[in-house]
């Protein structure tokens, strides 16, 4: 039983990171119909940006700030202006393929210019345990959960409680009408890209101390977050959050109670079941799009 508790805590901690990444997926999809297959690499890169700034001599806290800023510029602004905007007019599919190419490009560049070997990455949370309900829970898991929950709460508050959030919602739901009533749709779309970049940088900061900084570490993450987004509902931020947590827990339970060899298969099977029986996702809305 104590084992189950540990597994749930670890699963929620990993799931919270998946959720951050999955939320980014849905944000980009909702506002600009971008399916970003480089999302995993977007999580891998900020860690290397932070490591690079630390190599130049910056202390860790400064490296975090610079890393997040650089991520917002590169993975938010530059991604939107240099790749999404020019490709968008050709449709969703060419853009999706372009993001796959971008994923390969980022991965190979990190391998080429940094190293093919893994590097250690400092943790923002000190190691140690606290006792919760008689169970020793690591500070790292709690830290990861806390940061992820704060980020998600912040985002949902922004979207539902502020005027800016309402404008973003409007731009996502019906850009034409939003434009008529004076919402700066283009700026709102850009904002979602910047928010996505911030979220992936945060996820990178949380997961890299555990997974190590490696050029290929985005593959697993991108896939898990993509499954999480579909399972939860691609068109709902809360769906992506639920999907992320669910996949994290499911993955850990599968590894413990099924087998490590088949752990990756269990979320996949779950994904197939969701697509078959509830294609809009657990919390998603059925969407009707004109063709």
């Amino acid at each position: 039983m104590s084992n189950l508790f540990d597994l749930l805590v670890a699963g929620f901690a990993t799931g919270a990171i998946y959720a951050l990444v999955a939320v980014g997926f849905t944000l980009l999809w909702q506002t600009s119909q971008t399916i970003n297959f480089a999302q995993g690499e977007f999580v891998m890169l900020p860690a290397f940006l932070m490591l690079a700034t630390m190599h130049v001599g910056a202390p860790f806290w400064l490296a975090i700030i610079l890393g997040i800023l650089l991520s917002i510029i590169l993975l938010g602004l530059a991604f939107k202006m240099l790749l999404v905007d020019p490709m968008m007019r050709h449709g969703v599919l060419p853009l999706a393929i372009a993001t796959m190419a971008l994923a390969i490009g980022i991965k190979e560049s990190v391998k080429q210019f940094y190293s093919a070997e893994a590097s250690p990455f400092p943790s923002i949370v000190p190691t140690g345990d606290v006792s919760i309900l008689g169970h020793a829970v690591s500070l790292q898991s709690i830290g990861v959960l806390a940061v992820a929950i704060l980020a998600v709460l912040g985002l949902t508050t922004l979207l539902s409680r502020t005027s800016l959030g309402h404008q973003m919602q409007a731009a996502a739901q019906n850009p034409t009408v939003a434009r008529i009533i004076g919402v700066p749709v283009e700026r709102m779309i850009l904002l979602t890209f910047l928010i996505n970049a911030f979220l992936v940088a945060l996820a990178s900061l949380l997961i890299t101390p555990i997974y190590l900084a490696k050029f290929s570490s985005g593959e697993v993450l991108g896939q898990a977050a993509f499954i999480a987004a579909i399972v939860g509902g691609f068109n709902q931020v809360r769906g992506a959050i639920a999907g992320g947590l669910l996949i994290g827990v499911l993955d850990n339970l599968a590894a413990a109670y099924v087998s490590t060899q088949y752990r990756a298969a269990v979320p996949m099977l779950f994904l197939i079941a969701v697509i078959l029986f509830r294609p809009q996702g657990l919390l998603g809305r059925a969407e009707e799009r004109t063709v």
């Binding site: 670890a10 893994a118 250690p120 020793a136 690591s138 555990i210 490590t260 060899q261």
Partner: protein, 376 residues
């Protein structure tokens, strides 16, 4: 008349440079680029250092050693092509590759050509195929794992053991031998956990170890995964002593795992930290020449060349056909051939028997705690 003179002069020149013409040719194929670049570069530098030393002292049986280096790009396919090319030049002995996978695909070529191959691979199966031309420079799993099992049973006094291994040829090979040996000695394997190569999340595996509550944990993963599981073991507060092989306590693992590596122990066949004077001297010479401290692959390359020297001197002639036969069953003593660093015996299958070391990570440094003697 004039032309005869010219020919005569040429002949004189050729005879005068006879030592060069008669050099003993070795061919090295190693991982000089790609994922195994660290392995291959250390191996190559070890070879070059040994050859330089031997040639400076007059060579082998009065003949200089010469080596050609080819890059396998850490790719078995390329390794095969490069070995074929190297064999076409009819070398005396083939050196390398370092990766077991590359050795596996190149060994049949060398055997067919009847040329001895001295390599760096450690997978158990390499020397179990009846190949009469293949020789190791380090322990295969069938030599190292019994020592590991014995240490877990005798020294750690573990009655129950959790075994974590990576699901590939390397991991499975080691796991099979160690589980068998533990069983024979009477230590019970209470958790037998297979993990995937490249696995990032070890929370569930460590959860299972915790639930099994073993007296000791044997970890047999590649370097990166070792670092990740060490961190997770610390994170979940597992206090059972950890035992592994070179891959658990290597310098790279210590760098990646930080203080989570402290206390981990491992059996190491070759280490430049060994408390052996000749090894220390090697480390110093190597570091002076290349400006970095070699890993065990540097030692392996160095030893490979001295194996060639000792075997050739034992035969008393340079005979590629007889080389393998002579090396089988040969014991080379460090007292007679200091370049071999430690006494070593080669079996009929090309496996080696040599003393080895028990290393513990103490405050981020490898510390040799015990010298484990030769088996025979």
């Amino acid at each position: 008349m004039k032309s005869t003179l010219v020919v005569g002069a040429l002949l004189t020149v050729m005879t005068a440079t006879g030592a060069f013409a008669q050099a003993i040719k070795l061919a090295n194929v190693a991982e000089l680029s790609g994922g195994g670049a660290t392995v291959g570069t250390n191996w190559k530098n070890g070879i070059d250092l040994a050859i330089e030393e031997i040639n400076a002292k007059g060579g082998v049986l009065g003949r200089k050693l010469e080596v050609s280096h080819a890059d396998s790009q850490s790719n078995p396919g390329v390794a095969r092509a490069q070995v074929q090319k190297a064999l076409d030049a009819e070398p005396y002995v083939l050196l390398g590759p370092g990766y077991s996978g590359s050795v596996k695909v190149t060994a049949p070529l060398a055997a067919e050509a009847g040329i001895a191959q001295i390599m760096g691979g450690e997978a158990a199966e390499l020397t179990q195929t009846g190949n009469k031309f293949l020789f190791r420079t380090s322990f295969g799993q069938q030599s190292s794992m019994p020592k590991v099992a014995k240490y877990i049973h005798d020294e750690m006094k573990a009655k129950t053991v959790a075994v974590v291994w990576v699901n590939n040829d390397f991991g499975r090979g080691g796991r099979d031998v160690v589980v068998k040996e533990l069983d024979r000695l009477g230590s019970k394997v209470v958790a037998d956990l297979s993990t995937e190569a490249g696995q990032a999340d070890f929370a569930a595996d460590v959860g299972k170890i915790k639930a099994a509550n073993p007296d000791a944990v044997f970890v047999y993963l590649n370097e990166e995964e070792s670092a990740r599981i060490l961190k997770e073991l610390k994170r979940q507060g597992v206090t059972a002593p950890l035992m592994g092989e070179t891959t658990l306590i290597g310098q790279k693992v210590i760098e990646l795992a930080g203080d989570a590596a402290n206390g981990a122990r491992g059996h190491v066949g070759l280490t430049t930290d060994a408390p052996v004077d000749l090894v220390k001297a090697f480390r110093e010479k190597f570091s002076k020449k290349y400006n970095y401290v070699p890993d065990h692959n540097g030692l392996k390359g160095y030893l490979a060349v001295y194996m060639v020297k000792a075997t050739t001197e034992k035969m008393g002639k340079v005979d590629p056909k007889k080389f393998a036969d002579t090396l089988h069953g040969l014991t080379i003593k460090a007292a007679d051939e200091p370049g071999i660093l430690m006494d070593v015996t080669f079996s009929d299958t090309g496996d080696i028997d040599r003393q080895s070391f028990l290393v513990e990570v103490v405050e981020g440094k490898q510390v040799v705690k015990q010298v484990l003697p030769k088996v025979k």
